[in-house]
Amino acid sequence: MTHISQNSASDHGTSNDVTLDLVNRHSHTGNLFRISAVILSILFVLGIAGFVLRITTDGTSNNDKWGYYAAVFAFILTTAQGAPMVAIAPRIVKAHWRRSTSRAAELWALSGFITTLVFVPLIFVLPGLEDGRRSFWFYHEGEVARYIPHYVGALSVVAMALAGLFLLWVSSLPDLAYIRDHQTGWRQKWAKVFARGWQGTSWQWFMVNHRMGILGAFYFMMLVFTHFVIVADFLMPFVPGWIDALFPATHAFNALQGGVATVLVTLFVMRKFGGYSDFIQFDQMWGLGKLLLATSLLWIWFSFSSFMIFWFGKKPNELYTLDLLMTGPYLWLFIAVFILVFIVPFFTLIWNPVRRSTWGPPLIACFVLVGTLFDRIRLYVAAYSVPADADMHGPIPLDLVPAAVYPDVFDILITIGVIAGAVLIYMLGTRLIPVINIWEQRELSIYQVHKRFHRTEVQVLGKPE
């Protein structure tokens, strides 16, 4: 039997209260925020110092010195730049719980500045195609430019960063208009410029929704393409005989898991220290917890699929690859990754009490983030440590598997500095753009009604087309 629920005038009053509340919270900057920003800035500067020392000491011609650098680049690409997908995908399926989380996820697109910056030296580290290594560009002298991987890589990283920034801007337009209309000082000036005369006409709302859909799809395509290019040109060719058709997809879908974990940790911080506990509640943690469980299962499925083919096939190049990346010098790191990225999330998140809590999923997300960092280190450091003079078409004898490369001071400084830089730019972004999507919260108050259903209370959720 169809029932009709009414959204009354009092709910409209509540929407205005929500708007003012969020705008005011956005303009307030606490001491904890300032202290954290200072610490992160120091770490970022130390990271830059580490990078300068690395490049002046070792130059860009020694691959094995840049393994950790490439690993942290891939880590930010996988985690922070995967986070906007947590806004895009639930928006496509019209999940209402995403409304409190979508801006927090989209703001991670700002880390595109960091990845673009960090990517530049890698262009110089990667040799040209004339070394004869296997490549998608089927290099023949004179027919294909020997630096084509560099160009395509740079283009894709920049395009992905731009797509994320555009998506962030488009989705923020109505909120920037609220700030323009309710704030003063530099915030008002900044919002006035970037709100682009937003008035809230039907046409403007239609275009925002339409553009968010297109930009979201484009961002996803760029994410997949960028991961593909990074893997196909900046990772796998370093290991002669590493032919894994699935790995670009694995690397890209790891970004979904990394993105979910990043957003979960962000939401926890927002709840605990940002004072947003009335917006970030059980629904958001539960929805993201389920996504984290699903993406953990995806990780094991893809990893096992690759492993099984190599293990069963026992071709020399496959044995070399397995030894290098899994069972040889990085065995303990691989075990740690397996435990942190799969075992811990799976065996905890299958329990309802863990999934249905506000602390469980963020805690598990921390494990996943650490595991993802270890995973990127395992892959990139190992690949970059293969001798540059190895026969590029493989297979290499097993006794030539290089020993594990341990991080030096420069690597540690760079790793911490890059991660600090990504977090810093996110935090600074939250001062410019509200971290909770105000217009989506207002929209929720239109489409969510609590009412009596005979002898019980139910929640009614509208599903507009």
């Binding site: 039997m1 058709a245 699935l246 997809a249 499925w301 009614v460 509208g462």
Partner: protein, 457 residues
């Protein structure tokens, strides 16, 4: 769902039990044709059993032909049920309600059809008994390291899991039939099958939890089944074009592509055959069409990855195989038809709302998909085997015999007859699910507009 027609429980019972309590006029002729095809195919199989596997077209070096391609095809179709039913149940998509049971039943019969191909292929089917781990004086145990042992464990688990999944969800509807049929025997049988279901809040709560829990349990099985089937090919190093890590997800996404297309076909047939246009509306076709765009594009991405990485190896035999697959007779034209029929015809059409919302449009485009996907499986298996060895004198060709063609037709007839017979005894649209949709449906008035809504507990 923007289109909505409220029915009421009595009308729902009447409409959805029409096929069970009565018989559409077309049912007997179509079932008879299916039965005739099955009988002819069984004669062909009898001939094969009598004369040996040599009456089939398979021979050195193409040891796997129509039977295996058809096996993989039906395993793919069988993924439809769980995809539509389990994933949409877990994501609480309202549009799944009228289609879940048909999808699950398609799964069951597709799995059985797939298994039948293995029996046909075995030549000496009693050797199937070598798979279970018993050793009564044979002195041989099954080789756990072989994908041919992984296969039965996965398919067996999936078959049992899907059957139980269908049965549990069927119990409330069996109670409805128990209360509606007039014959004493029929009442007893349905009463027995419904296990005494009464419809208490406890039973309904457990039914809801069961749906979610079983969906969550069957989904990993669904992923593992076709991964393991793909590893029948991918773990093999001696056949060009097979040894690729991407086979597992590639096969899964291909299975989802063909399976969901098959569900869309069945939806159209249900609308036409049982006059269910009030239950399976244009909105449902639109929703499945949008899902298919995403699935098809993802499938194409994996196909492109698989193809490019084959060339990436820069191994001459691999490249020669791909050249043969794409450019040489007879595989070249098949490749063209496959790629066009699987993606380049249906997907651009699905981008058009009119096509997505039309049962005929969806029916024709999904037939195209399944023709393409059958050819895909053929093109994965046969060309690689035809060029298996490095010596050209050992190269071969493959021509399917009339026996193989008959037995492939058997599988289509079997699935058709199976679904028809099922529809005669059990409702194809879950009655309680549709009724639940009505209870949980709501609307929100926003100014002059009424927005459809649903109740969440």
């Amino acid at each position: 769902m923007q289109e909505y027609i409220e029915h009421g429980p009595k009308k729902i019972n009447r409409d959805l039990l029409a096929g069970v309590l009565g018989l559409p006029r077309w049912w007997m002729p179509i079932a008879s044709v299916a039965l005739l095809v099955i009988l002819i195919a069984m004669c062909a199989y009898g001939w094969e059993l009598n004369r040996g596997i040599g009456v089939a077209g398979i021979n050195r070096p193409v040891y796997w032909g129509f039977y295996l391609a058809n096996f993989v095809f039906w395993i793919g179709i069988s993924h439809a049920g769980i995809m539509v039913s389990a994933i949409l149940r877990l994501t609480q998509a309202e549009w799944r309600r009228p289609v879940t049971r048909a999808a699950e039943v398609l799964t069951l019969f597709s799995l059985l059809a797939a298994l039948s191909n293995i029996f046909f292929h075995l030549g000496r089917p009693w050797r199937f008994l070598w798979i279970p781990p018993y050793d009564f004086a044979r002195g041989v145990w099954p080789n756990v390291r072989s994908p041919f042992i992984w296969d039965p464990s996965a398919i067996g688990t999936y078959l049992i899991g899907s059957s139980l999944f269908v049965f549990i969800a069927l119990i409330p509807d069996l109670a409805v039939i128990r209360d509606r049929v007039s014959g004493k025997t029929a009442k007893r049988v349905y009463g027995f099958l419904s296990l005494g279901w009464r419809g208490t809040p406890r039973q309904w709560k457990l039914q809801t939890v069961a749906g979610i829990l079983l969906s969550a349990l069957v989904l990993p099985v669904f992923v593992s089944v076709h991964s393991i089937v793909s590893w029948d090919f991918a773990v093999n190093v001696s056949v060009e074009g097979w040894h690729s890590t991407i086979f597992a997800p590639y096969f899964i996404i291909g299975a989802i592509h063909s399976g969901v297309s098959a569900v869309a076909m069945v939806m159209a047939l249900m609308v036409w055959g049982w006059k269910l246009e009030n239950y399976i509306t244009r909105d449902h076709f639109d929703a499945i069409g949008r899902l298919l765009i995403v699935v098809a594009t993802t499938w194409f991405f994996f196909f492109a990855l698989e193809f490019f990485y084959a060339i990436y190896t820069l191994e001459d035999p691999e490249i020669a195989l791909r050249t043969m697959q794409v450019f040489e007779w007879p595989y070249g034209p098949m490749f063209f038809v496959f790629i066009v029929a699987s993606y380049f015809i249906p997907v651009p059409l699905w981008l058009l709302k009119n096509v997505r919302r039309s049962p005929m449009g969806m029916f024709l485009t999904t037939i195209s998909v399944n023709i393409g996907m059958w050819l895909e499986r053929f093109l994965i298996i046969i060309p690689g085997l035809a060029r298996k060895t490095p010596f050209t004198f050992d190269w071969g060709t493959y021509h399917p015999s009339i026996v193989e063609i008959s037995l492939v037709c058997f599988t289509f007839a079997f699935v058709t007859l199976g679904v028809l017979v099922f529809s005669k005894f059990f409702p194809l649209v879950p009655i309680f699910d549709v009724k639940e949709g009505e209870v949980f449906r709501d609307e929100i008035k926003v100014g002059r507009r009424t927005v459809p809504a649903s109740i969440r507990e």
